[in-house]
């Protein structure tokens, strides 16, 4: 499914934002909110995983049904997961397209990576002492 990715803050992201390694943070920001009809169209239930692929990359997320979402739009809270697929293009304004990244949404059996795994995939070294 082709969709437009929207990102932003929400409460659970805000609560866990200073605990980037915590399960609560991962649970808050590795979620893909989408319209239930879109979920149905993909043939999956809420809680199953999808891969989102954009011009910048791809990432696996857990789906969550949200009536408030328009069809053809998905919302991923601000964080390393959303940023794994947001392009760094800023249109020379300094600001990436955090609210307008076109993505492909495909169901997947792959598991959601941890924040540290994501950071390692871009050259980081985890610190988990």
């Amino acid at each position: 499914m082709r969709a437009v990715l929207n990102t932003g803050r929400n409460i659970s992201q805000g609560i866990a934002v200073e605990h980037k390694g915590s399960p609560a943070y991962q649970a808050a920001v590795s979620v893909c909110h989408m319209n239930p009809v879109d979920l149905m169209e993909l043939g999956i239930d809420e809680g199953e995983h999808v891969t989102l692929t954009s011009r910048a990359g791809s990432v696996v997320l857990t789906t969550r049904a949200a009536e408030s979402m328009n069809r053809g739009e998905v919302f991923v809270p601000l964080g390393p997961y959303a940023n794994h697929i947001i392009s760094a293009e800023t249109h020379a304004t300094g600001m990436p397209d955090f609210k307008a990244e076109p993505v492909d949404v495909v169901p997947t059996d792959e598991s959601v990576r941890t924040v540290w795994e994501l950071m390692e995939s871009i050259g980081g070294v985890r610190y988990d002492h």
Partner: protein, 271 residues
Amino acid sequence: MRVILETKERKKPFLPIEAETIIPSNFLKGPELTVYEGNKERLLSDLFTIVVEGTAVSPDKVEVVLKGDTARIKRVGEYMATGTIRIQGDIGMHCGNFMSGGVIEIGGNADAWLGREMLGGSIICHGNAGHYCASGYRGEKHGMRGGRVEVMGNAGDFCSEYLTGGEVHIHGNCGDMAGVEMKGGQLIIEGDATRPCGNMKDGMCMIFGTVHRILPTFEKIDTKKLPDRNVTVTVYKGDVANRGKGTLMIQKPHNEGDQHPANTLPGPATT
């Protein structure tokens, strides 16, 4: 006189070079100029192999040729008043800023802010131009005021923002919001455009490709045949959200079934 500058290999090739000293008139006194690489001042000869052919008595007879990896070289031709600069490949940001005369020819792509606040002279870019082609400076109320910019390929977003005078001719497509805040001059787009001329106050924009999402505040006033092109265009006045007296002529207005603009954007020239 011809001055040929060919880039040398650099340890940190991604560091931007700021080279507003590269304008024809500066070479009359010899090639001992300096440029900035990051926060370090360097001799031109540290970064370029310099070959000077012939002599000149006045700057208009000086031609500067740039070769090699020139995509990160910024501000070439800034404040240039006369003479010629030819760039074989791509060129970095702010090429031809504030230029008032002379010619810049770019063989490849130009990065953002090509011909920013230009006053006169002409720029020809054979590849694509980045965002803010022929536009203004942050906070400044006047963009390009005179001269001519011609881009054979596409231009990015905010092309000709605040255009106040002169002519901009894009042969390919423009990104989002070409001609936004336009208050004079002429913008011609042969290809497609999205949301052109928002908040336009004056000036004229003609678009011959498909126009996505014409703003609701442009008033359709006429259709008109352009004899030199043998096409009929729809004429709009706008932007009535403002005190707009601008003219927008579109050959192919198209508002239905639009794609999202993010999907239709040309990439920036040097991505």
